[in-house]
Amino acid sequence: MLKIKDLRVEIEDQEIIKGLNLEVKAGEVHAIMGPNGSGKSTLAAVLAGRDMFRVTGGKVLYNGEDLLEKSPEQRAKEGLFLGFQYPIEIPGVSMVNFLKTAVNELRKHRGQKPLSASDFLKMMREKKELVEIHSSLTNRSVNEGFSGGEKKKNEIFQMAMLEPRLAILDETDSGLDIDALRIVANGVNQLKSKETASIVITHYQRLLDYIIPDFVHVLYDGRLVKSGGKDLALLLEEKGYEWIKEEAES
C-alpha cells in the first residue's frame, strides 16, 4: 500500500529525514517510536502533503502511484488520513460544516451522492458513540476551546467519519488518560481490516497494549534504525533509547 524509498526531507536547509525506507502492506499495523525531534512528525506531515517541508530525495508510492505529487486533499480522498499531534483550531468553521464538506468530497470522489442532512447527522451520532465524544463538541467550531484530550478524541472521531485506508496517527495517545487511550485504540482497531493499514506514532509502549502492532520501528535522527515485532516496544520501554542511539552512532 505504501512504499517509502530513501526519503530525504529538509526544512530551512536542515535535513530532517535522512534516507528513510518503509513498506506498509494492507492489513498491517506499524508502530513508529523514537525520541523527541527524531523526525516522526515531519515524516507524517510529508506523507499528508504539508508543503513547508522540501523533499530532496527518494520516492513514496501509495497504491502504486507517486504520492508526493498529489495535493493534500487528493491524498485524503484516496484514503490517507493524518491524526495530528497538535490538532488545529479553526474559529468560525463549525465541526458539522467541516465534516460534512469533507465527507461529501470523499463521496464525490468515490462517485457517491452527497449524504442528506439527516443521513449525515445519523452517521455523526453513530461515530460519536464510538469515540464517546461529547455531543456539545460537534456543535462548536473545529477544535476551538477543546481540551487536549478532546482534541485527540476529535481526531479519532474524524478518522471514524472518513474511514481511511491508511491512517497515520501522530502521538494521538500523548497526554491521554487510560480511558481515553482505550477509546483511541478502539477507534484504530475498529478500522482494521484486510484492506486498511495504520501507522501509529507513539512515545509510549502502553498504547501498544491495546493496538497490537505487526511491526515496531525506531526512528532516530531521520532514519529507521531498528525494526522488530511487538517485543521491541517492550525493550524500548525497559531500556530507553540510549542504547539505540549508541548502536546507531557506532
Partner: protein, 455 residues
C-alpha cells in the same frame, strides 16, 4: 444637466455650477432645504474638498474622483423606461416597505410620502420638508451643519431630495423599511442625496439600504444621512453597497442619541470602485448604546475606507465598533476608528476591533485606532489585526479532503460571519449571508436586482 469642464479648479467649478443652476436646484427641492444652501456654499468655499493632506482623508484620494466630466441631475428624473419593470423586486421572506431613489431622488411621484403603522411616515425628503417644515426644521442640518467636511457642506448646498423617515413616540415598525438607491444614466453622473431620520421616544424601526448601479457609466455619490434617536428609541441601519467598480461613493452618516437609545449600523461593502463611509455618532445622554459594524470584501483595484467616530459625551454609554475585511488582488483601503470619551463621560464602555485578511502581497490596508480618553472610570479596548489566512488551518482542512479553494472560502466565510451573525433581522441575515457567500465565490458580479433578491 451641466458638466464640470475645468479639471483644475474643482471648487470653483462647483461654485459656478451652483450659481448657474440655483433656480433648478431650488425648484426641484423644498424651501426649507433651499434656506441652507447659501450658507453651505460659503462653508464649502472655505473648506474645499478634503485633500490627501487632510488628517481625516489621508488615504482617500477624493480630488481624483472629481477629475472627470460629471453630469448633475438637477431636473426631474427623465428615465425613458419603466424603472419598476427592470427593477422587479419580489422578496419572498423579507417583507419590506420599499422606497426607491433614482439618481438620488425619490421615485414614486404618486406617493411622495407613505404612512405606515403607528403613524410612521416615510418617503421623499423634499416632500417632507415642504409638507412638514416645522418638524423637519427642528432637525434638518443640525448635525451636518456643524461638520467641517467640505463634502458635507457641498451636499447641503446641492442636495434636492433623499429619504425621510419619521417615527413618532412609541411607534414600532414591524417590517423593515428598504431603500434602494439606483444609479442609472447614459453619461457619467454625480448624485447627492440627503436623508433625515427622526426616531422619537421609544420608537423602533429597521432600515435596509441597498446601493446599485444599473448602467455602466461612472457614478459619484456624495450622500448625507442624519439620524436622531430620542430617549429609548431603537434604530437599525444596514447598508449593502454593491455598485459597479466604475463608481465611487462617499457616505456621511451622522447620529445623535438621547437617553438609553440604541442605534445599530452595519455597512456591508461588496462591489464599488471607491467607497468611503463616514459614521459619526454622538452619545448625547446617559445609557446609550451604539453598535457600528462593517464588513468589506473587495478585490481588483477597489478602495474601501471606513471612518468611524464615536463621541461619548455623557456617562454610562456603551459603544462597539467591529469592522472586518478581506482584500484580494490589489484592493486597498483604510479603517480609522475614533473613540472620544469626554471628561464627564464616566462609566463608559467602548470597544473597537478591526480585523483584516489580505489575500495577496499587493493588497493593502491601513488600520488606525484613535482613542482620546479624558475620563478616568472607563473601559476601553481596541484591537487591530492584518493577516493572512492561517496556513495551518488550511492544511488541516485539506488533509481531510476539502479542496483548497473550498477551505479558503470556508475560512473567509467564518471570518466574515462574526459581522453577519449580528444582523438582527433573520431573513435579512440569511440574504446577506447568501450575498457574502456569492461575493466570496466570485459569483456576484453585477447585480441588477435589489440585494434582498440577489440570485
Amino acid at each position: 444637466m451641466s458638466a464640470v469642464k475645468d479639471k483644475k479648479d474643482i471648487k470653483g467649478d462647483f461654485i459656478t455650477i451652483f450659481r448657474e443652476n440655483r433656480d433648478r436646484i431650488d425648484s426641484g427641492s423644498a424651501p426649507l432645504m433651499n434656506r441652507f444652501r447659501g450658507e453651505a456654499l460659503e462653508h464649502f468655499r472655505q473648506l474645499g474638498l478634503p485633500s490627501d493632506k487632510s488628517e481625516d482623508y489621508r488615504y482617500a484620494r477624493i480630488e481624483s474622483l472629481f477629475d472627470k466630466d460629471l453630469a448633475h441631475s438637477f431636473s426631474v428624473n427623465k428615465v425613458s423606461f419603466n424603472i419598476l419593470d427592470i427593477f422587479n423586486c419580489d422578496i419572498p421572506d423579507l417583507d419590506t416597505n420599499l422606497i426607491l431613489l433614482v439618481n438620488g431622488k425619490y421615485y414614486n411621484p404618486k406617493k411622495p410620502l407613505i404612512e405606515l403603522e403607528g403613524g410612521i411616515i416615510a418617503g421623499s425628503m423634499a416632500e417632507a420638508a415642504a409638507k412638514m417644515p416645522d418638524l423637519v426644521g427642528k432637525y434638518y442640518n443640525s448635525m451636518a451643519g456643524e461638520s467641517d467636511d467640505g463634502l458635507v457642506a457641498m451636499n447641503t448646498a446641492f442636495s434636492q431630495d433623499g429619504v425621510f423617515i419619521y417615527m413618532p413616540e412609541g411607534a414600532v415598525l414591524k417590517k423593515p423599511l428598504q431603500v434602494v438607491n439606483i444609479m442609472i444614466h447614459e453619461t457619467d453622473l454625480m448624485a447627492q442625496h440627503r436623508s433625515l431620520i427622526i426616531a422619537e421616544e421609544n420608537s423602533s424601526a429597521k432600515l435596509v439600504v441597498c446601493d446599485h448601479t444599473l448602467s455602466a457609466s461612472s457614478f459619484l455619490t456624495n450622500s448625507v444621512t442624519e439620524i436622531h434617536a430620542a430617549a429609548g428609541a431603537n434604530f437599525s441601519l444596514s447598508k449593502i453597497q454593491n455598485e459597479h467598480n466604475g463608481s465611487a461613493q462617499i457616505s456621511h452618516t451622522f447620529i445623535k442619541q438621547k437617553k438609553e437609545s440604541s442605534v445599530f449600523t452595519n455597512t456591508i461593502s461588496l462591489h464599488g470602485g471607491f467607497i468611503r463611509n463616514n459614521i459619526s455618532a454622538r452619545l448625547d445622554e446617559e445609557g446609550c448604546e451604539n453598535n457600528a459594524l462593517g464588513l468589506y470584501l473587495t478585490d481588483k483595484k477597489q478602495y474601501i475606507d471606513n471612518f468611524v467616530r464615536i463621541d461619548h459625551a455623557m456617562p454610562g454609554c456603551q459603544s462597539n465598533q467591529l469592522f472586518k475585511g478581506v482584500l484580494d488582488d490589489q484592493a486597498s483601503g483604510s479603517f480609522n476608528g475614533i473613540i472620544l470619551v469626554r471628561e464627564n463621560a464616566q462609566k463608559t464602555n467602548a470597544y473597537q476591533a478591526n480585523n483584516n485578511i489580505l489575500l495577496t502581497d499587493d493588497a493593502r490596508i491601513n488600520s488606525r485606532p484613535q482613542l482620546e480618553i479624558y475620563a478616568d472610570d472607563v473601559k476601553c479596548s481596541h484591537g487591530s489585526t492584518v493577516g493572512q489566512l492561517d496556513d495551518n488551518a488550511l492544511f488541516y482542512m485539506r488533509s481531510r479532503g476539502i479542496p483548497e479553494r473550498e477551505a479558503r472560502l470556508m475560512m473567509m466565510y467564518a471570518f466574515a460571519y462574526e459581522v453577519i451573525g449580528r444582523i438582527d433581522v433573520k431573513p435579512l441575515r440569511k440574504r446577506i449571508d447568501d450575498l457574502v457567500n456569492k461575493r466570496l465565490r466570485g459569483e456576484l458580479s453585477r447585480c441588477n436586482n435589489c440585494a434582498m433578491n440577489c440570485g
